[in-house]
């Protein structure tokens, strides 16, 4: 039993850290596919502040990110999750969690 568990843990993929850069008033990449348990980090390279805020059923909010600051979200459930910048509603992104 213990050996089986160890084998299962060994085969399971470790969570990955993904980075989305915010620059030029866009999310790069705007569409990102991740696995459940992965962490997505948004880093703001623009002069002006931004957020990455879940706009659908899944709620998350990095809060205000000043230039050089980063915020994160751990993908906890499957689905297509749209998000936007609270300050600039024309800025959109999508997380596809598989």
């Amino acid at each position: 039993m213990i050996l089986w568990l160890l084998l299962l843990l060994g085969l399971s993929k470790a969570p990955t850290r993904h980075t989305v850069e915010i620059r030029g008033m866009e999310f790069h990449p705007a569409d990102l596919t991740v696995a459940v348990g992965d962490t997505v980090v948004w880093i703001n390279r623009d002069i002006v502040p931004h957020t990455a805020t879940g706009s659908g059923r899944t709620k998350w909010d990095t809060g205000q990110l000043l230039q050089g600051q980063a915020g994160r979200y751990v993908a906890s459930s499957r689905g297509t999750k749209r998000y936007a910048c609270t300050f600039h509603p024309t800025m959109h992104g999508t997380l596809i969690v598989r």
């Binding site: 008033m25 866009e26 623009d46 002069i47 002006v48 230039q67 300050f87 600039h88």
Partner: protein, 188 residues
Amino acid sequence: MSRSSYPLLLPAVALLFGTGLLAQNPAAASAPDLSDPEVAHVAVTANSIDIDLAKFAQTRTHNAAVKQFAATMITDHSAVNAQAAALATKLGVTPADNAVSQSLQTGAKQARASLEPLRGAAFDRAYIDREVAYHQAVLDAIDKVLIPTTENAELRKLLTDVRPAVATHLEHAKQLRTQLGGTARTSK
């Protein structure tokens, strides 16, 4: 950029300056030839004008989306001005007042005066009309006057970095204007 292309810029410059500079001085049938300290002054003035109008709008509007838009204008243009001030200090440049900055100030006073008597939805529509026209004019000026005439690479980079924010503000204002409904007035 060669001076010979300036006549192509006249519509954008005329839009930026409204009925001001070029109309008052038709002999100057070319876009202004700005020094870097003057470009810096124009940039800071353009930001400050939008901050001041947004602060006024926040005291006047009751529309949550317009309030949010105004808050974003204050935050973003303040952040840009902070960078501009830091860069000016680093470069040892003292922004120099000039006819373009003065023309912008005159336009801002006129805009404020036209908004002053308005209330409610009429104010919201007129404010956002002004923001659409203003950001379009600033965008045109960045593309056709400010970036091409700036000699210092760091100042030019700052203008280039700011451009997407101005374009995003313009799209934001246009979307908001559509949501507000009514007839868009032709604003300067």
